[in-house]
């Protein structure tokens, strides 16, 4: 299974790069994951001031909004993509991570969708399942 580990940033850390100490510790941590054969990607993002948002709001042309986005509660600072046997294993690894945010840090772990996830849940399938369930409930 594949997991995306999203490292959150906040106003203070947005794009301000980690301290030399944290950088060194993160380097060692990345190295451990490489040695365990599970690291598929690891990147830091430039500050949100260098980014943009594209907003599709039903109008003909999408709107472009320039960064920064520091008012956002869910600012992303970086990410990993890990190959783990299950979510528990990924969590166990992440718990060993050096604190990414100085005093208070946060990461989000999300499983990457596989082909079977996409095929099983088109709205058509979901509707069909809903109807089946209703039918069964009605017959009960």
């Amino acid at each position: 299974m594949r997991f995306m580990v999203i490292v959150k940033a906040n106003e203070d850390t947005d794009g301000k790069g980690p301290s030399a100490e944290l950088l060194a510790e993160m380097g060692k941590f990345n190295e451990e994951m490489v040695k365990a054969g599970i690291l598929l990607a690891a990147e830091g993002l430039a500050p949100s001031s260098e980014g943009a948002r594209v907003v599709f709001d039903g109008k003909a042309t999408p709107q472009v909004v320039d960064g920064p986005f520091t008012e956002s509660k869910e600012l992303v600072g970086g990410f990993w993509i890990l190959q783990c046997r299950d979510r528990d294993e990924c969590i166990e690894w992440i718990k060993r991570m050096p604190n990414p945010g100085g005093e208070h840090g946060e990461v989000e772990i999300r499983r990457v969708a596989e082909a079977s996830d996409l095929e099983n849940m088109t709205p058509e399938v979901a509707e069909l399942e809903g109807r089946l369930r209703a039918q069964i409930a009605g017959e009960a």
Binding site: M1, V34, K35, A36, G37, I38, L40, A41, I81, Q83, R85, D86, D88, E89, I91, E92, W93, E114, A115
Partner: protein, 421 residues
């Protein structure tokens, strides 16, 4: 934490930590991997007993190692049989003063080397292939006996016995706990790569109805390959194998059509190819090529072929000339009629059907290809392209008869009919 939660955490920690734990203990036990595993299991039991109360330690690996060593010392005191084995542990201890030295220090110093040694021992040629696979997945993959059994579609007791016998065989042959040097190293490394690729192929051949464990084997094989690549980064064929597995894996989602039917590489929807694995695979191949300075071994040659496909944005952009040349090189390393057949296909794509047919016909009489339905299938295709339609139809019908797969038979019969009309 509930007991159930803790148990789950222990199992997860075990999967992560057990290879290093067993490796370190094996070194201390003078290569007795059986004893090492027993001691490690003792530590696992202790964790299951103690962590629900005390909580999961911050450094679980060190905790397990400490407990395992303590058990080892206990055994040493109680049983002289272990004296020989555990001399090294004994030397570490000041027996009788009850004070254990700091185990964290030096835990990492040898541990990488020990893991490498453990992998080489688990793949020792004194064991048959099945035994090597079971032992490797158990000790280096941290898989349970049950998981291994489900992955290989056999009973748990079968795997348990295989592992017991394997450990006995290693002990009987007095296999030393070391990484071989020189000529022996080449052969032994080849044995390790063979085991890893076998695990991969077992997983790659899994079909959708199979137990979840089977496709997970592909990932485990790739992981073991990467672990090995990190341990001995100077070996080009290790990176070559990793590249091959990652590039093959990258096509996994595109291999089956909506009705579960197999889709040939050239017909695959390339937007379904896993680009992350392609990146990784190409990077591993580049590394392999740099180290070997362009001299391919069997795995890197196959990876280079897979890379040609991965780099082609559409099927029509495939570099068939390069593929044909790579097959020629591969054929020199590992002469085989099947490789020649593949080379024939590539030569046909690169230089025209007549040239391709010449290559194929040179091996058409080989006994190894007698029941290989792809031979008449390929011949049929080339003959059709050359306008020799009667012969083509005959070959497609012959191929249809030879295949056991109903869908393939239908497909080949369709081709025969299409040619005939």
């Amino acid at each position: 934490m509930t007991v159930a939660d803790t148990r789950s955490t222990v199992e997860t920690v075990w999967r992560i930590e057990s290879p290093r734990l067993i490796a370190g203990l094996a070194r201390m036990a003078r290569g007795d991997v059986g004893l090492a595993e027993e001691l490690a299991q003792d530590a696992l039991v202790a964790a299951l007993e103690q962590w629900p109360e005390s909580g999961v330690p911050r450094n679980p690996g060190a905790w397990l190692m400490t407990i395992a060593k303590r058990r080892a010392v206990d055994q040493f005191r109680r049983n002289e049989r272990y004296t020989e084995k555990l001399e090294e542990v004994g030397r570490d201890q000041r027996l009788g003063d009850g004070v254990l030295p700091d185990f964290d220090a030096g835990l990492d110093d040898h541990i990488e080397d020990d893991v490498l040694r453990l992998l080489f021992v688990a793949c020792h040629p004194v064991l048959n292939t099945q035994a090597r696979v079971a032992l490797t997945l158990r000790m280096l993959g941290g898989l349970t006996t049950d998981e291994i059994a489900r992955a290989f579609l056999v009973r748990e007791s079968t795997i348990a016995q295989r592992i017991v016998r394997a450990k006995k065989a290693l002990a009987a042959a007095k296999v030393p706990f070391e990484v071989p040097e020189g000529d022996e190293r080449v052969a032994r490394l080849s044995s390790v790569l063979e085991v890893i690729y076998l695990v991969f192929n077992e997983g790659y051949s899994a079909t959708r109805g199979d137990d979840w464990m089977r496709p997970a084997l592909c990932e485990e094989a790739m992981r073991l390959g990467r672990v090995l690549a990190a341990l001995i980064p100077g070996e080009s064929e290790v990176h070559g194998l990793v590249a091959l597995m990652e590039l093959q894996s990258s096509r996994a989602k595109a291999r089956t059509g909506p009705n579960g039917e197999p889709v040939l590489l050239l017909d695959q929807d390339r937007s379904r190819w896993d680009r992350l694995l392609i990146q990784h695979g190409l990077a591993a191949l580049t590394l392999s090529e740099q180290i070997a300075e362009g001299a391919y071994g069997p795995y890197s040659a196959q990876a280079a072929i897979a890379a040609c496909h991965a780099r082609a944005r559409t099927a029509s952009e495939t570099d068939w000339v390069r593929i044909a040349a790579l097959y020629e090189g591969l054929g020199k390393l590992q002469p085989s009629p099947v490789i020649e057949l593949n080379r024939g296909v590539a030569v046909a794509m690169a230089y025209g059907p007549e040239a391709g047919l010449a290559v194929v016909d040179a091996v058409a009489g080989e006994p190894a290809l007698k029941d290989y339905h792809l031979l008449p299938s390929v011949r049929g295709d080339l003959l059709q392209k050359l306008g020799r339609l009667e012969e083509a139809e005959r070959e497609f019908r012959r191929a249809a008869e030879m295949t056991e797969n109903a869908r393939e038979r239908a497909f080949l019969l369709d081709r025969a009919t299409a040619v005939g009309s």
